[in-house]
Symmetry: C2
Subunit: 415 residues, 2 copies
């Protein structure tokens, strides 16, 4: 089992009564609640509030051994997984190594435009954002000051929208009265989406609502123009140059390089095409689940794909990853009992995105919510799914305090 994200962890849990020896390998010692990473990146939550050690989560499941380590090679012919110093053999392999952001063949942009997939990313992004305001305060000329106070967010999906909304609030409310040489409220927050609208996975009405809420918060929304250059001192949006020192990347999908190690052709985003039972072609003992898997879904009621949105692919969300993880566990249990497996069927429960402190958009297929009601729904759903009682309580306190005081409790730059 490679990867302790939503897919990997749910697959392991699904096998808790299986007569099997499970080895879970992850590069990190913790499971990360990715949907709230943007809150860590924007100083709303401390890193430990949205993460829990994998071996603590799984301490009572005696058939699993958790190992911290990085998988460097997979040999599907010999059924072996290689780490830095050791090699493990397997009977069944589940690869749930996730995805990173894609820079569209411009990997050199990554250094100026960090993405947001791990806690490390989130802490680095937090330090970058907070430091930008500090640099603006220290700057000696106006052009430099303006560049430090311009924030460009690439990608109008849920993460981009959430980052932009929160950043605008930080500039206008959180930092109010704290600076002497600059007015943080003059900061520019630009959200750039190459496609025609923000939140492309949502219905059009909700995209429009999100845009309206963002603009009310002071975010400048650019749609229909991609970012064509990223450098240390600025970006190019379409053909227009923008001076900025802070670019946050929330666009594209690039499957983990481990996908390529499986020896079959991956799609342009590096995802592994899987069969209906999530195994890979010709290797029924190897499964791929989560963001790394590419699976088409027949459209139909309840799949969320009926209305012609997207490409009919199962989306790269936490909910989809959990479902795939559970499905792999069920398939393995059936195989161990000598029974046939069934096809994976994605059940679409809904999509959520929050925009600042009192608005959100929620698409539950039949029900669509916007504004305050959606925000309360978002809040409850995220608290409910956050692992660990203590985390929930602390997050609730942080949110309540942030709501009443406009403050953010993790405004700490740590390198």
């Amino acid at each position: 089992m490679i990867g302790g994200g939503f897919a990997g962890l749910w697959a392991v849990r699904g096998l808790r009564h299986a007569p099997a020896e499970i080895l879970l390998i992850d590069r990190h010692n913790h499971h990360t609640f990715q949907p709230l990473l943007y809150q860590v990146a924007t100083a709303g939550l401390a890193a430990p509030s949205i993460a829990a050690p994998l071996r603590h989560i799984l301490r009572r499941q005696r058939n699993v051994t958790v190992l911290l380590g990085e998988v460097t090679s997979i040999d599907v012919a010999r059924r072996q997984v290689g780490l830095e110093q050791v090699t493990w053999s397997y009977d069944y392999l589940v690869v749930a190594a996730g995805a990173a952001h894609a820079y569209f063949d411009h990997d050199e942009w990554a250094i100026h435009a960090p993405g947001l997939k791990t806690l490390e990313d989130a802490l680095a992004m937090r330090a970058r954002v907070l430091r930008a305001f500090e640099r603006a305060e220290a700057a000696e000329d106006q052009a430099e000051r303006d560049a430090w106070l311009t924030f460009v967010i690439a990608g109008g999906g849920a993460t981009g929208v959430e980052l932009a909304g929160t950043l605008a609030e930080i500039a206008r409310h959180t930092l109010k009265r704290e600076f002497r040489r600059i007015d943080p409220a003059t900061a520019h927050v630009l959200l750039v989406e190459a496609g025609p609208r923000v939140l492309p996975a949502f219905p059009e009405a909700l995209s429009a609502s999100a845009r309206w809420h963002l603009e009310r918060l002071g975010v400048t929304v650019h749609t229909g123009r991609p970012i064509t250059a990223v450098e240390e001192r600025g970006v190019r949006i379409g053909s227009e140059p923008v001076a900025t020192r802070t670019v946050l990347w929330a666009a594209g999908v690039a499957g983990s390089p481990l996908g390529r190690a499986l020896g079959i052709a991956v799609d342009s985003a590096g995802r592994v095409p899987v069969a209906a039972d999530l195994s890979i072609p010709g290797r029924p003992e190897v499964f791929v689940a989560g963001d790394l898997a590419r699976i088409e879904q027949a459209s139909g009621r309840g799949t969320g794909l009926a209305s012609g949105r997207g490409s009919g692919l199962v989306p790269g969300t936490a909910a989809a990853a959990k479902q795939m993880g559970c499905h792999v566990a069920r398939t393995l249990l059936a195989r161990l009992r000598g029974q046939p497996g069934v096809s994976f069927r994605y059940r679409h429960h809904g999509l959520l995105a929050t925009i600042g402190r009192r608005a959100a958009v929620v698409d539950l297929d039949r029900i669509r919510l916007t504004g305050v009601v959606a925000w309360w729904f978002w809040l409850s759903a995220h608290l409910l799914f956050l692992i660990g009682f203590r985390n929930r309580l602390v997050v609730l306190i942080d949110w309540a305090s942030a709501y009443w005081t406009y403050q953010r409790n993790a405004r700490i730059i740590v390198d």
Copy 2:
């Protein structure tokens, strides 16, 4: 004003009604509650719980500008302070840049034996400790496993005692049942103090009590033998080699290099000898406060130095630093009014150190406490002095949950 620790921050606050323009420069954007750093290092608390942004703390004090930056030079003749790109002139200068740990002319040890003075240090130490258990679980031979499960703490002061006690608890309780190939309870925690007893600043009876509590927790206490070598794969205690991969340094004092920039002779620990009003010889407009200052105190009742302990120097504690900061503010206010200043007089309120989850030692000069009572006293005192209501509440929750469950809520390795 250089440094936003206890001395610098209290000096700034003491000048809140002064007709002055105050510039506070710090390398970090936050004030750190140093007495609880060991809790961040041992995964009990999240970093933001013991830190608050300096500009947020001081947002209502309109006569102060906070700048994030590193002072690289001080020119006392020209009355100028140099940062990387800019130079500031001053009428009065307060240097409160603190101290680091001292490696006794073996700076090459630092890479293997990190100290604990900043949040960065604490997070690095946390990652090192947690990773040691992970490496032990992954190790393929017994000698390597044992070395990963051996923890050496250098220095038997309050920080060393607190680290050792907490580490022993983590090994015996927190990690119980979470590993499959090792038993974390077999870990060795060694506390090494070169002097004759742990907690040398406390009365002998309390040192003995602390040692008893540590040994009951399973810590091996070595006194009277210094560490004579530190390498990647082990240390030497006196002449005895010990195989270990984790050495935590909590010994010695090395004043900030900025002390040397003042152009007067510093003591062997790099501290700046100051006059009775905390100014430096020949420069009445330059003050040094906090751990960087060296000041002798006439012994007598209420100074805590009457009983012949230590060298009669004001100790390097948070309380002493606050008192010095306040005193500098009072002296500056007097000068601005054309009045004479008074001599600094250190008032000793007490010393505290905690040992694991239900014991502590408290020395209040007339009252001495040990065991559970001392631990409750320690708990209340630290909660009381922690900056910010929200921090207090979250810390209280973390402590309560840690107490009942033996769990630690920040067991997250982030690089």
